[in-house]
Amino acid sequence: MPLEFERPLVELEEKIRALEATAREQNLDLSDEIELLKGKLERLQREIFAGLTPWQRVQVARAPGRPTTLDVAERIFEDFYELRGDRAFADDPAIVGGLARFAGRRVVFVGHQKGRNTKENIARNFGMPHPEGYRKAMRLMDLADREGVPFLAFIDTPGAYPGVSAEERGQAWVIARSIQRMSRLRVPAVAVILGEGGSGGALAIGVGNRVLILENAWYSVISPESCAAILWRDAKEAERAAAALKLTARDLLELGVVDRIVPEPGGGAHKNPEGAIRELESALLAVLRELEGLSPEELWQDRYRKFRALGAFEES
């Protein structure tokens, strides 16, 4: 199902497909008309996506078909091997990770994992991790440090799971610990917000030397719906909350919360995941190259300076 603002695009796409079918069936040369329409589609796409409201971008960030961590892993790594479990309690399917080879170099990666369909989404708890997921992530941080290879984190979660099972196993404790563990990495660390960057559950694997964000992804202290429910006492004010929270890529770049925006192809990453992943691949490679000359101590310093500086206040 297309998103509300995608309808004009879908209509145009259908027209193009219909013309193409006519041309084929009746053996007519309609290429001029088709080219015209395709050009129009592209312009309209650009126009619509340039003008998306923050709330519309939140919809795009959640759209089915958007690249997940495993989609990215399958496309950008020469090979990868998934490592599972926290070696203590459970394997959390909402977080994946493992060893990989990226552009010839060894890396360790981790990421939230949403399902690619409803059934898988239920199995993966909609990308909302339990404490054991973060413990798996920390285990992988240990591995990256020991092996001295870069650590890549892909963020895509509505938030850490807010349920009894998670609370009683120390959800807050483990998020704090994961932030601390990641900040202590002695290797280059890059975090990428692929889709949703929901609060502490996202930040837990977000303490990178560089933080990238896909063009239509969001990253916020709270989801627009929850924010609306608290501040306006009405979840339907999510659109206003989305705007107020300054959660879009461009806002975050301005605030210094992210370092680089990864452009999405026309129509959004969900319409062309391969294109989005190619852009991500080259952005990742570029930032890794920036970081690879730094010593473990310098990498820590760099991360410290980055996060120490975040915040806005005045001094009297």
Partner: protein, 283 residues
């Protein structure tokens, strides 16, 4: 939020409001208490043991050795980086809380000795926007930790917070990373960090510096967690287990070191700090 909930819950039982002047009604058991008695009990009901919220200045009086406290907070002031407007503009909200508390933001603290041990003592102020953590709280905590490391002081933080300051958006989220990383200097210098969690401590504060302490103490029956109970109830669509997210529950679940009655807190804190000191009597 939590404070309203607290009052709501109590009213189902006591119905009444506080009687003015000399008397006050316990929020938990409804007993009429002499204000002076309650004060002497450090805000703990002598009948039922309920720990009432007390002003941050009282926390300093309870924990710091007499005459040892020297404030370090107050110079850092919040700004409206997002031009945030909900039911009112953020600056107006801030002004209201500043007026009410006499503080620029939700934190108060300074140098102190605690049982003779040189410390930095920071106290979160729940009366200021529910103790929410924005840039100022994050900055003051980071500076406090850095000061402790620089001057070889123990770090003691009393928390009370509904979580992150929504009106500062992602910047408030980043305070979780900032405070966590600033603690590093305290740990590297082998200085002790003790956190004291009071009712309620939730969200980004629990999920960052509050639970990274060497020793985590909590007040009895304090609500402590990541998500708030209302959100959890919505998620699981079931009633929450008895005592869920309360101190005693968390102690059993291995998440706290001790649940300590406020009337014994200073004594226990001093013991802990002295056990971290090479030569406590030379301090």
């Amino acid at each position: 939020m939590a404070i309203e909930r607290l009052f709501r819950r109590r009213r189902t039982r006591g119905e009444g409001r506080e009687v003015p002047d000399l008397w006050i009604r316990c929020q938990a058991c409804g007993s009429q208490l002499y204000k002076k008695d309650l004060e002497q009990n450090l805000g703990v009901c002598p009948h039922c043991g309920h720990h009432h919220r007390i002003p941050v200045e009282d926390w300093v009086r309870i924990l710091a050795d007499e005459g040892s406290f020297e404030a370090i907070t107050g110079k850092v002031r919040p700004v409206d980086a997002l031009s945030f407007v909900d039911t009112e503009p953020y600056p107006e909200r801030l002004a209201r809380y500043q007026q009410k508390t006499g503080r620029p933001d939700a934190i108060y603290g300074g140098r102190a000795t605690i049982g003779g041990v040189k410390s930095v003592l920071l106290v979160m102020d729940y009366a200021f926007a529910g103790g929410s953590m924005g840039s100022v709280v994050g900055e003051e905590i980071a500076r406090g930790a850095e000061l402790a490391a620089r001057e070889d002081r123990a770090l003691v933080i009393v928390t009370a917070s509904g979580g992150a300051r929504m009106q500062e958006g992602a910047l408030s989220l980043m305070q979780m990373a900032k405070t966590t990383m600033a603690l590093e200097f305290v740990f590297q210098k082998r200085l002790p960090y003790v956190s004291i969690l009071t009712h309620p401590t939730t969200g980004g504060v629990t999920a960052s510096f509050a639970t990274l302490a060497d020793v985590i103490l909590a007040e009895p029956d304090a609500l402590i967690g990541f998500a708030g109970p209302r959100v959890i109830k919505q998620t699981i669509r079931q009633d929450l287990p008895e005592g869920f997210q309360r101190s005693e529950f968390l102690l059993k679940h291995g998440l706290l070191d001790a649940v300590v009655d406020r009337r014994k807190l200073k004594e226990e804190l001093v013991r802990v700090l002295r056990l971290f000191s090479e030569d406590p009597d030379a301090a």
